[in-house]
């Protein structure tokens, strides 16, 4: 327990409509594999992965939420502690793209003001069924001043990059990271707090 295994702890959150591939993206990142069928996420799922960035060991605590409206009261309680949020849509499902505005409103209402955001257009391996062009994704991201990538959990495109870029953005904020411990209503055991401060 006493051994320090990482320098920083970042909390990330995955949100977006049901079926856009949040769980698959997380699974691709944490286990480097793809499963065509995943059970639907009920409530919230949780994974840990430690990465190295600019010479620092960073432990990512990633929360994967359920997409259906019914779960919003349960899932919005996780927004507050998140330092980075990935908003995912499905490039073959216009509805999931139309809902981006709604998800951004959720972030505004429930997350910390300085949370780092990233928009992901997933399933980009399905060119033949694409309904949302890459440009439209870029445009809406630009309008809201957030990062954007098209990803595929299936073909392993940009998934790792997405997590690294989001983590780097959080890291680059620099001074903020010292405030992290007190500002976190999300669970953090005392033993871990002391680890990241020395």
């Amino acid at each position: 327990m006493a051994k320090r295994s990482y320098d920083l702890l970042f909390k990330l959150l995955l949100i977006g409509d049901s079926g856009v591939g949040k769980t698959c993206i997380l699974f691709r990142f944490s286990d480097d594999a793809f499963n065509t069928t995943f059970i639907s996420t009920i409530g919230i799922d949780f994974k840990i992965k430690t990465i190295e960035l600019k010479g620092k060991k960073i432990k990512l605590q990633i929360w994967d939420t359920a997409g259906q409206e019914r779960f919003h009261t349960i899932t919005t309680s996780y927004y507050r502690g998140a330092m980075g949020i990935m908003l995912v849509y499905d490039i073959t499902q216009p509805k999931s793209f139309d809902n981006i505005a709604k998800w951004l409103r959720n972030i505004e209402e429930h997350a910390n003001e300085d949370v780092e955001k990233m928009l992901l257009g997933n399933k980009c391996d399905m060119e033949d069924r694409r309904a949302i062009s890459r440009e439209r994704g870029e445009d809406i991201a630009r309008q809201h001043g957030i990062r954007f990538l098209e990803t595929s959990a299936k073909a392993n495109i940009n998934v790792e990059r997405a997590f690294y870029e989001l983590s780097e953005a959080i890291l680059d904020k620099g001074p903020n990271k010292d405030k992290i411990p007190e500002a976190q209503p999300l669970p953090k055991p005392r033993s871990e707090l002391s680890k990241c401060c020395n």
Binding site: M1, S18, G19, N35, T36, T37, F38, I39, S40, I42, G43, I44, D45, F46, I48, K59, Q61, A66, Q68, E69, R70, F71, H72, T73, I74, S77, T92, Q93, P94, K95, D98, D128, R129, R130, A131, I132, R136, D139, P185, L186, P187, K188, P189, S191, E192
Partner: protein, 406 residues
């Protein structure tokens, strides 16, 4: 009592003219893994069969007939008065967002399609580790005399149509509509012919009919995980005369069960006495009085009950264990007269049984443990749960009522 002795006992109970429910529940509580009695017993426990076997055939016949009618009305002929297939399809295709017509039957049809698409996503994702749900059923619902078209084909077409439509009619940035010719490959259905239906498609139909008949809840994610084990149990019945009616009987049992637990699926009831938030609070109260040290530890880590018990309680633990274990657990749960109270004791015993690991771990390891419950020994969990209940009843001065594991 030994396994063999138990199933003999259960068979004797089932043969009586008027099944003594107390005795019957006690026998079921011990588990129904042997002798293929689970499907019959669950039907009785979930009020699909009355305790008088003489009334069974008549009861079943009328229930199954109503279900058949719902399939006809809600799946085959969803647009009232539109019995000409050609015409129906044309009208559906007109009802795209360019042409919203609130007066039309089709705006309701359109709304239903959203529900159907969500069900479709989840029915496909049901027990992905098992091949059962991907395999064709032996009892598809046949729509024509030659048996070449099945009811599933109607939903397949409908899903294809609305996926295609939503892909083809896309709002562009300036607020106008782009109509692009995106076609959808039918790869998903390639392995099944029109005369076959996969088990997951049967589940899809069941959930869609339930959603239509219960518009207040419609479909909520997780219902698939409640109906899945029931349908599996009925459609693997060794008794063919029952197996062939798995679909209709599942519908009734699921409807009855949902009658008891539906409040947990309804967002605006979250905070009510029967809602999910209250259930989670009750679980924490129970843990607090059972194992104060563990409760304090979880509180200290800020490991909230929503992080794990939301799923435990909503799905009655169906996502926590492999299917055979879920079935065994549900035997006791369904058999218990206070079944949802007993579920709290089961969840509490699951926490207590891994207390040492939880007390030792930090937030992340504890979260992982609770989200992937380790080495589930269902028997041990149940024994512990009945003990907890008993000592709690004694401690609060109540009478000791619950069934114990023999």
């Amino acid at each position: 009592m030994a396994f063999a002795g138990r199933s003999v006992e259960l068979k004797r109970i089932l043969e009586s003219e008027n099944i003594g429910l107390k005795e019957f529940r006690e026998a079921c509580f011990q588990g129904l893994d042997e002798a293929g009695l689970r499907p019959k017993c669950w039907r009785i426990l979930l009020n699909c069969l009355p305790p008088q076997p003489a009334r069974w055939s008549e009861t079943l016949a009328s229930q199954r007939k109503s279900y058949q009618q719902w399939v006809q009305e809600l799946i085959i002929y969803p647009g009232e008065g539109q019995d000409d297939e050609e015409q129906r399809h044309d009208i559906t295709q007109d009802d795209h967002p360019l042409n919203p017509n609130p007066q039309s039957n089709w705006s309701a049809y359109f709304k239903d399609n959203e529900v159907l698409l969500q069900i479709d996503k989840d029915a496909r994702r049901l027990y992905p580790d098992m091949c059962f749900f991907q395999r064709p059923t032996d009892y598809p619902v046949k729509m024509d005399a030659s048996g070449n078209i099945t009811a599933a084909e109607y939903l397949r077409k409908r899903i294809d149509r609305c996926v295609l439509k939503s892909a083809a009619v896309v709002k562009n940035r300036s607020g106008g509509w782009n109509i692009s010719g995106v076609s959808r490959k039918r790869t998903e259905y390639e392995n099944l012919s029109e005369s076959e239906e996969a088990h997951w498609e049967v589940v899809e139909r069941l959930l869609f009919i339930y959603a239509k008949l219960n518009p207040g809840q419609a479909y909520v994610q997780g219902m698939n995980e409640i109906i899945g084990p029931i349908y599996y149990t009925f459609s693997t019945d060794k008794d063919e005369t029952f197996r062939e009616h798995a679909e209709a009987d599942t519908f009734l049992c699921f409807t009855n069960l949902m009658g008891e637990i539906r409040d947990r699926f309804i967002k605006h009831l979250d905070e009510s006495a029967s809602g999910i938030v209250s259930s989670m609070n009750n679980l924490m109260d129970l843990l607090k009085s059972t194992d104060h040290v563990l409760w304090t530890c979880l509180e200290g880590m800020d490991l909230k009950p929503q992080y794990y018990s939301f799923r435990w309680l909503t799905l009655m633990l169906s996502q926590e264990f492999a299917l055979p274990e879920v079935l065994r657990l549900w035997d006791s749960l369904f058999a218990d007269a206070e079944r949802f109270d007993f579920l709290l004791y089961i969840c509490c015993s699951m926490l207590v049984l891994i207390r040492d690991q939880l007390l030792e771990g930090d937030f992340a390891t504890s979260m992982k443990l609770l989200q992937n419950y380790p080495n589930p020994d269902i028997h041990k969990i149940l024994v512990k749960a009945t003990q907890l209940r008993k000592s709690r009843q004694i401690a609060t001065g109540g009478s000791v009522t619950g069934i114990m594991i023999g």
